[in-house]
């Protein structure tokens, strides 16, 4: 290796190390700050304490909000996977003119539904429907925003399931719902698992929709409650925020690990045979 190459390679690794450190610092902060007696925005070895977590227990909304987050996430997950699977199956099997155009249009427009731009009309719509300050309303809005992409991905899985599976079951006398339950759903299970996790993660991290649609603090999910952690002086309460952030991130990471072990993530169809 020539000296020139050596310098190049060392420089490359130094660059990677700097970028890695830059990325790792916030994570390190998240792991250390919750246990620090006086957490700051810098990352340093903490004076070990549990007082920040004790503080969370004193906060009336902190733990309940995690429950609310679970409620919203699971509710949306059920709506998105059930409706998504049924719609994707139908769209995959029935020929209607302009089907693909419809799907792409839905996909494009869906980013607007949960986006900032449509918040005023959505607020008005929810107001008319009497769904302000209702967790059902939040679930419906979030599901509506996620469904097109879910249908799009699931349809790909359904398309990749050979029709001969269904035809074979039909010849043996199975009805449409039997076929869906016994054959199609088990075959596309990796796709459904992917969509379920993706929905949970999206809803879990969503701030704007519940912030606008929910009024009472006891219904707010964790993302909104996190926003209310101030000291009496109006300063951000870093102790509470860091401890809560840690609790808030654990379920998502755990779920990711579990599902990845169990099903493996795939965003495209296809069957290993």
């Amino acid at each position: 290796m020539s000296p020139r190459e050596l310098v190049g390679r060392v420089g490359f690794y130094v660059l990677i190390a700097v970028i890695t450190a830059f990325m790792a610092l916030p994570v390190l902060w998240l792991l250390l700050a919750p246990f620090d007696r006086t957490p700051t925005l810098t990352t340093s070895l903490p004076e070990w304490t549990w007082q920040n977590f004790a503080g969370l227990l004193d906060n009336p909304y902190a733990l309940a909000s995690l429950g609310n987050s679970v409620l919203l996430a699971l509710g949306s997950m059920v709506v998105v996977t059930v409706l998504g699977a049924l719609a994707a199956y139908a769209l995959s099997r029935v020929r209607i003119p302009g089907r693909d155009g419809l799907l792409y249009a839905l996909l494009l427009l869906s980013s607007i539904v949960t986006g900032t731009a449509a918040m005023v009309p959505i607020f008005l719509l929810m107001f008319e429907l009497n769904l302000i300050d209702s967790q059902l309303g939040v679930v419906l809005v979030l599901s509506g925003g996620l469904l097109p992409a879910a249908i799009f991905i699931l349809k790909d899985f359904m398309d990749a399931t050979p029709r001969s599976y269904e035809e074979s079951a039909r010849v043996f006398g199975a009805g449409p719902l039997q076929i869906l339950r016994d054959i199609v759903l088990p075959v596309v299970r990796p796709g459904i698992a992917t969509i379920a996790v993706w929905t949970v993660v999206n809803v879990w991290g969503n701030f704007l929709t519940p912030f606008i649609l929910l009024r009472s603090p006891d219904k707010s999910p964790a993302a909104v409650v996190l926003y209310t952690f101030y000291t009496e002086g109006g300063q951000a309460d870093l102790g509470l925020i860091s401890a809560f952030s840690l609790l808030y991130s654990i379920p998502v990471v755990a779920m990711y690990v579990f599902v990845n072990r169990r099903y493996g993530f795939r965003f495209h169809g296809g069957i290993k045979r």
Partner: protein, 378 residues
């Protein structure tokens, strides 16, 4: 056990394409019946119509005397084996075989016992807990067969049952399938594009083209007396020699040679009529010396076929220059490339077809006055 009867069956796709075009067919009880034809001839559509997977546009389908035309596939008492076997990848072999029984609400222990018994009969005994993905191609095929056998249908439908197997396995599976069908005695219809498969396995076969049946008969009949030039060129592992010919009183002028006109064909042929002379390479012999009834040519290609060789003779003449006549020769008698040869057809094996519509003319083996298209379904 049941026979299958198709009456004036029509399947027309939107846009006016007729995949099955007014087809009449009766398949006898216990028969092993082959539907043969090139791709796009409607044979698979016909099979799927019998299964109920396609809704027919007209006509009737009767299975065992019962009109099933309007019935759902599940109510027809049939079992179908698909080209890709359609084994459910998330179920074990046991659950796959037992699935039709589960649909029929048979109890779990009962259907598992039935699945195990059937699997044993098809030598799948040790594989019951495997998933289809862990089976070889031949095992997958047997699992798919076991699933069909376990539900005791009146009719088996096989869609290209052997096409997913490699060549060696295909021969084994052919024998296996034929024996299985014989043992069970269930009326079976199978679709294939491979003429060798149809000849080898079926009791009777139908050759299809463009939604119609071109010929129905036993493999021997179809092989020896193809009803038209289409069937003639489709059947046989070496294609039949088809040469333009002209009738000239009681002789036949073909490729620069004058042959006696087969006596039986005489009454059916007009003087000067354009015909097609047909003879299989297997029914011709190659001579080194001039023969009065031989077609003269130059040896262009010799293909080794294991037992014997296929010799291609280049025959001069015709508007388009040289034509090819193929002859099989026994082992050890291969001619030199470039040498002269005379191909002589066994007179009783020569067939004549009309040039305009390609239909068979009564020939040597047909008695005078016999219908020109004996045994043809169209």
């Amino acid at each position: 056990m049941a026979d299958i009867e198709l009456r004036r069956l029509v399947k027309e796709y939107p846009g006016g394409v007729r995949a099955v075009d007014g087809l009449d067919l009766t398949i006898a009880d216990g028969e092993f019946f082959a539907l043969l034809g090139p791709s796009g001839c409607g044979k698979t559509t016909l099979l799927r119509s019998i299964a109920g997977l396609e809704t027919v546009t007209g006509g009737h389908i009767l299975i065992g005397g019962r009109d099933v035309t309007g019935l759902a596939p599940g109510a027809r008492d049939i079992a179908m084996v698909f080209q890709d076997y359609a084994l459910f990848p998330h179920m074990t072999v046991r659950d796959n075989i037992a699935y039709p029984l589960r649909i029929r609400k048979m109890g779990r222990p009962e259907r598992h016992a039935k699945a195990e018994e059937t699997a044993e009969g098809l030598s799948l005994g040790g594989l019951l807990d495997r998933r289809p993905g862990q089976l070889s191609g031949g095992q997958q095929q047997r699992a798919a067969l076991a699933r069909a056998v376990a539900c005791h249908p009146k009719v088996f439908l096989f869609d290209e049952p052997l096409s997913n197997l490699d060549a060696r396995l295909r021969l084994e599976a052919r024998t296996f399938l034929k024996r299985l069908q014989r043992d069970l005695g269930v009326t079976t219809v199978f679709v294939t594009h491979d003429q060798a498969e149809a000849l080898a396995m079926s009791d009777r076969m139908a050759v299809m083209d463009a939604g119609r049946i071109r010929q129905i008969g036993t493999p021997t009949e179809v092989f020896q007396r193809p009803a038209s030039t289409f069937v003639a060129s489709f059947i046989g592992s070496t294609p039949m020699n088809l040469l333009d010919a002209v009738a000239d009183r009681d002789t036949l002028r073909v490729a620069g040679t004058t042959l006696p006109l087969p006596a039986a064909a005489g009454p059916h042929v007009r003087d000067g009529e354009k015909l097609v002379f047909a003879a299989r390479p297997e029914y011709m012999t190659l001579h080194r010396e001039a023969e009065p009834t031989g077609i003269e040519g130059v040896v262009a290609i010799v293909e080794n076929m294991g037992v014997g060789s296929l010799v291609s003779l280049e025959v001069p003449g015709g508007a388009d220059g040289a034509r090819i006549v193929q002859v099989t020769v026994p082992e050890g008698q291969e001619p030199e490339i470039g040498s002269r040869g005379w191909a002589v057809a066994a007179p009783e094996r020569v067939l004549l077809y009309r040039h305009d519509d390609g239909e068979l003319v009564g020939s040597e083996r047909a008695g005078a006055g016999e219908p020109v298209l004996a045994g043809a379904g169209d």
